[in-house]
Symmetry: D2
């Protein structure tokens, strides 16, 4: 399936493996594999996260769905989100990590760590959740974490 | 397909849409949608990129495939790569951006910008784009860019 | 002046040069100079920026002065801000850049680029600079930039 | 002391307080204070860290002192380092944190955490050092940390 066909017909079915292959082909065809060391790619990823942040930097709080954004700006956002993804896919590949598998595994870990139900009071997290705080009852840390209930109240009051 | 089945049998076929749905379900089941504003998710993404960087920070140059890394460390790496991906997927969803479609589109744009073949001398791109690279023929910029030929030589000589 | 004295009496007079020297001494006394290559330090800086972001990630918009924050949290914030600064100081030193001088120079550049007065309509700047803002008279870009007037209005309306 | 004088004569004596005042004046004179909320400034800082990373992204390992870099590139680096510093100074100010004092305090904390002498085997760290791992004998974590001795050996061998 070529890019145009997939873009038109099956974008919803884009797999991480498909992106990995496209990135690998892209680099090989341009003789750019020599530059794609893990730390080079990581710094390139950081650069793209910076560009993504610049889109949001002066906006104050932005509501879901980006109401009022011009189409041109949303397109630009899509490009920066894509850039981050593509470098992440390439970095994972160069590290020998199956990104799709890793993502499913992490979702499983998170589901065990934060059982469903609003009774969980997620922590605002620290970076340490995965290693050493998984067994503290009020630590609900990582990927989709939120804030301590009292922190939320404080914010709403302020 | 449940998570276990997909992890075992079809990880290679993990789609971005599948991850998007899982993240949406995860947040809804925990009543965490209220915290998933675009800028909250963006800062959480930056946090995860920080954790990813910490894995590589004191290592000096790291060869492809991570020879000599302990399994425990590679697992940790997989979790941090996954965290970045999951927040990126969720951020895209909250912005109304189809991440898979955006990625395919960006690959197309890059293919037009940097025609295949080693003859292209990709720019190292960078923060100075606005000044000096917008119209230079050797500016081959973004996602999978590399370095000016003379820069490469310089490095190899140093 | 030792650290305690300067902390108590003259913190307002902390110079970048003083911090540079302290960081250099610290590394030398522990035989850690060998690890302080520019890219190692840069990735460590990114790691600290990640930790800084984690403090703000689930908070929604945070008003100036951080009203309602607990002292413990503000202390933690101070430590993360300091970590970013200290790595930045050390990175600059390892690159042979006089950070204080560079900062004064950049302020001068910014002052020329954005003449004082509210008449200037600063650009939100961003990743698209290379395409469309390099030569537009209303591009007032960088360090202390803000947003297009119409963007501000849009936000206030939304 | 005006900027020119300080740049020529006393750059080594640049204080964080001086930079804080200059940034405050700059924003007030342009009516930009309205945009300088903590999270806006934090995202702007992330954007500048991204630009800083782009300078290093395709270079592979870069030796101290940046041998072989063109003057133009080193100047650009100085500007990006300065941008990160200036946003960090402004963010600290808007959070009510005395950055110079925080930096001296953090150096003191680090000195206690990692007693001088090469006998310390610094950890490659995790983000959690400051909170919860300070009492593990082999955790030498944060600001100027390095790597486990055996990690270093492994790298040199690989």
């Amino acid at each position: 399936m070529n890019a145009v066909a997939s873009e038109e017909a099956g974008a919803a079915a884009v797999t991480l493996e498909e992106l990995r292959k496209k990135m690998a082909d892209f680099a090989r065809e341009r003789d750019w594999e020599q530059y794609h060391s893990p730390r080079n790619l990581l710094l390139a990823l950081v650069g793209e996260v910076g560009e993504l942040s610049e889109i949001f930097q002066w906006k104050g709080e932005v509501p879901k769905g980006l109401p009022g954004w011009e189409e041109r700006e949303t397109e630009h956002l899509g490009e920066e989100l894509a850039d981050v993804l593509l470098y992440l896919v390439r970095l994972s590949d160069m590290c020998g990590v199956d990104l799709g598998k890793a993502a499913l595994h992490k979702i499983d870990l998170n589901a065990r760590k934060y059982p469903a139900g609003p009774g969980c009071r997620p922590s605002k997290k620290g970076a340490h959740c995965s290693d050493d705080t998984g067994d503290r009852p009020d630590d609900c840390g990582d990927v989709v974490a939120a804030v301590h209930t009292n922190e939320i109240k404080k914010e709403h009051a302020s």
